[in-house]
Symmetry: C2
Subunit: 287 residues, 2 copies
């Protein structure tokens, strides 16, 4: 049996499953401070004979195995989690191999193995929700270089009608600062779910996300792009992205049909937790 943790900023999803990606049991735990959250995580997994645990975590995290702080959450503003030694703590408690990557890289792995990018050695998974993040599979491996990607914070050009300052505490009007859920809410004065009848909201959202996709396509050239997260549940966003991306690219690169190339997650909201199961499997194989 394998353990999986999707560690998010507001909640942890913990699951046990098998090596075919099947989830057997799962729970959800609010993310408070490690002393509380990790105790509940531990109690859950102690019930099962797990051979390894995979973690897809909020970040930034240290994924460099040669680093003395490998396996830590690093510079998060979240109280108690800054420099939290996630991998070390789980290893000490369970004594099994621990896989560790970003939540979005885990989701990319899930989608590339069982979801919308099944069988491809290259894909990009983007989540647009309370934050914006992306993970990627490149040459059959989760993208990693100096560190993991931080694709949500790329710079974008402002929409001509947008006077909103932006919400990112580092870059104010980067992609996440202008297009994540909290930015939508602050700009328009209501949560996105209450803005369904306002086409200008989704026109602007598509404009920003299409710009991001243009950069991702020109820099990474993924074989498939998967868009998940709460904001993407708004049906109007995807067509707006297609429209703007076509305009921006202006036929400079030849891509597959938009509706085949840029798609919703094949695993729905389970991409991350199933990806974490796969990280557990990889950790066992690598030991």
């Amino acid at each position: 049996m394998l353990g999986a943790i999707e560690a998010g900023g507001t909640k942890f999803v913990c699951a046990v499953g098998d090596d075919t990606g099947k989830i057997i049991e799962r729970i959800q735990i609010p993310t408070t401070i490690p002393a509380e959250t990790i105790v509940e995580v531990t109690e859950f997994f102690k019930q099962y004979p797990i051979r390894g645990i995979g973690v897809g975590s909020f970040g930034p995290i240290d994924v460099n195995r040669d680093s003395p702080t490998y396996g830590n959450i690093t510079s998060t503003p979240k109280p108690g989690w800054r420099n939290y030694p996630f991998v070390q703590s789980l290893e000490d408690t369970f004594g099994v191999p621990i896989g560790f990557n970003t939540d979005v890289n885990a989701a990319a792995l899930g989608e590339a193995t069982y979801g919308a990018a099944k069988g491809l050695d290259s894909c990009l998974y983007i989540t647009v929700g309370t934050g914006i993040g992306a993970g990627a599979m490149v040459h059959g491996k989760l993208l990693q270089g100096w560190s993991h990607p931080e694709m949500g914070h790329i710079l974008v050009r402002r929409h001509p009608d947008d006077t909103y300052h932006g919400k990112c505490s580092y870059h104010h009007d980067c992609l996440e600062g202008l297009a994540a859920g909290p930015a939508i809410e602050e700009r328009w004065g209501e949560k996105g779910v209450n803005l369904v009848g306002r086409p200008e909201v989704w026109e602007m959202e598509g404009y920003y996300l299409a710009q991001a996709l243009m950069q991702y396509v020109l820099i990474l050239s993924p074989k498939k792009i998967i868009l998940g997260g709460g904001v993407m549940h708004q049906e109007q966003v995807l067509p707006s992205i297609y429209k703007h991306l076509k305009e921006f690219l202006n036929d400079y690169v030849t891509l597959p049909e938009m509706s085949e190339y840029i798609v919703r997650p094949g695993l729905g909201d389970n991409a991350g937790i199933i990806g974490a199961l796969l990280l557990a499997q990889q950790a066992i194989e690598e030991r």
Copy 2:
């Protein structure tokens, strides 16, 4: 003996060398039409007992081995080269394995093997000259997904003082449209080499290139960034890039010291041709 071609839009460099990256003989041929240029290429290589040829080519090119047009130059506006079957033509003439990639991917391979990124499995090579292009090594292989990257055409925010329209025929004010050599010349009315005493030129250039580097860092997280090409010969550009990139990133990601992380090519202007030699070697090994 190995053959190497660095196929550029204005000139072809052809060389023969050995499997330690040593160039034994080289010539330069103007790029006119294939019927002329390729005849000279053929005459050069016919003098040597070559076991394979590596090509780093201007693009866009088809690098997908499963494609019926693999090995072709694709949508270039250059007369005679559109849909030119580069690999097929060399195979027919020489009957040896042909390696084929973009000029900038070849340069990235050269730098990762013998140059500034020696020994790293991840690096980014950017050239800023008559165009802007970049190649990358990711997980020890040249970056390729749906196709090769086209990083020179990403969108950038305009410098507040820049009223120049932009020179890219596809996107007018993308990175290449605002920051390649011809854009500098058209905006300021003189070639870059004659603008050494105008600091505002290089301040603006650094602003645009730093934006591009921010996107590349956040999306790819390379272990080393190498900046080559004619425009980079201007000593004032690199410090301007460092300054703006620090401002843009605002400490969001932890990087090595700028002067260690973003560097000039270790192989000088030979990165591309030495990379092409390595492509020849790879093609022989893969056969």
